[in-house]
């Protein structure tokens, strides 16, 4: 206990403040300066979207077997839809660094859009509890998921 009032609290708090600041920055959308960075962002967006589509696929298959209640399925689907929106929005907000990256943008946004559509269709059916639609939706979600995986593999090359 250095009991003399020599060490200002400010200095002691500096690491804490620094950590908080770093943390805040880590959560922000950073710009992509090179095609490589842009590609990495595309992979991250596609991976995250895959997870959401797979979630919706799982909950719909559970709902079709009456393993979850309709409100629960609705909650899960809606959350994934919101997440997909955010993923699309965040990726769209990144400026492609070169014309070459524009092609990546077009490809990614098309596949993300399809995934988003499939999930939205699912939401319609789940809210109506339209049993008859689930088989087709599972197929649509499955193919959206496949497209995402294929795209991810291509981007990672």
């Amino acid at each position: 206990m250095g009991r003399r009032p020599v060490r200002p609290l400010r200095r002691a708090l500096a690491p804490v403040v620094g950590a908080a600041l770093a943390l805040a920055l880590a959560g922000c959308i950073s710009p992509a300066r090179t095609d490589e960075q842009y590609n990495a962002k595309a992979v991250a967006a596609v991976e995250a979207a895959s997870s959401e589509v797979a979630t919706v696929h799982l909950v719909v298959s559970q709902r079709s077997k009456r393993k979850v209640t309709s409100p629960y399925a609705d909650e899960v689907v809606t959350a994934s839809e919101t997440a997909l929106d955010a993923i699309e929005g965040a990726f769209g907000a990144v400026q492609p660094p070169s014309p070459l990256a524009d092609a990546t943008y077009a490809e990614v946004s098309e596949v993300l859009g399809n995934a988003r559509d499939a999930v939205t269709h699912t939401r319609f059916a789940v809210r109506r509890d339209d049993d008859a639609a689930y088989a087709d939706l599972l197929e649509e979600l499955g193919s959206a998921g496949d497209d995402l995986s294929a795209l991810e593999a291509r981007l990672k090359k």
């Binding site: 206990m1 708090l13 943390l23 997870s51 009456r66 393993k67 909650e75």
Partner: protein, 409 residues
Amino acid sequence: MKRIFSVALGVLTAIGGFVDIGDLVTNALVGARFGLSLAWVVVVGVLGIVVFAEMSGRVAAITGRATFDLVRERLGPRAGLLNLAGSMAVTGLTFIAEIGGVALALELVSSVHYLLLVPFTGLAVWLVLWRVRFSTLENVFGLLGLALVVFGFAVWQLGPDWGSLLDQATRPSVPGSEGVPTYWYYAVALFGAAMTPYEVFFFSSGGVEEHWTEKDLGTSRLNVFVGFPLGGVLSIFIASSTALVLLPAGIEVDTLGQVGLPVSEALGRVGIAIALLGFFAATFGAACETGLSVGYSVSQYFGWQWGKYVRPRQAALFHVVLLVSTIAGVAVLLTTVDPIKVTEYSVVFSAVALPLTYFPILVVANDPDYMGEKVNGRLANGLGQVYLVLVTLAALAAIPLMLLTKAGQ
């Protein structure tokens, strides 16, 4: 008979009360990404919390001093205040995450948007802190929290290849799809989730609330030695369930709704209903515990009368702290921060704050003037020292790993 009942009750509530939003989310998330390759961290973390909870409980029983009393008297007002600020930042973050978790669990039941439920949840938490007896609070939410055992049934029902699960857990390796820093980042997060500092603030203050004396040491130890490890088993079940259902499907956990899906997969609607009850009880109970921990720690630093063993009017400043922190917690949630993200950060910052709490406990548990015959034995000291090194390493590694992995992305 009555004695057996009370001992059993204590152990059961220790199990049910062990899991909170941090354990729930972190284990589910890690299971879905890393399978059981990080289960060893839960084992290490649970042993750590057992060692320090036992020590802090023993100190509370023998001397009547709870954790933040010790922090203040051994570290002095300055280092103590810094410690208080750090520990309260982390505990406050956890408190926010728990209230948010309650609201999210209720949203899954009611389909009402969680933000509308947050003020109601805050009010309910405060009413419990204000009106409900300490023992009632502990017993009710601890017992209801046992509903999370449904994750164990789910794993069993899913009929996994037990050999391969055990293999994953006992011979851990970084999965090919994940980077090594990410693996260690989540190792630190799981460690922080298992050893959250509020658990010792609450456990030791709870001992004083319940007027433990030397005679209660046996009961308190049984709660810790049996209840906490079984709570840890519950954590591993949660991770196993997501490892079995979500990992193969390529699902990463970012909502509470996803955490329940393995249970509904295995056990259907009844299962998910029980899981939701468990989510609610675990988060609500932990919201009360973290809220109380903030009040306990601030009051203990300044020496104010604290505790629910006296009427609120006799511990006025303590109740002011409870009220203010609940309002502040609700206010933060109403900024629409994602409670699951708050949870993820809270467990990592818990890891940063661990040495602050555990060092003074270890010192005082060895002070013969206080503890007499009941000073730490060789085992407690051996483990205590190993864990002091471990928590320090985890604390130092936490922030760099967070930056390096962009918080685990």
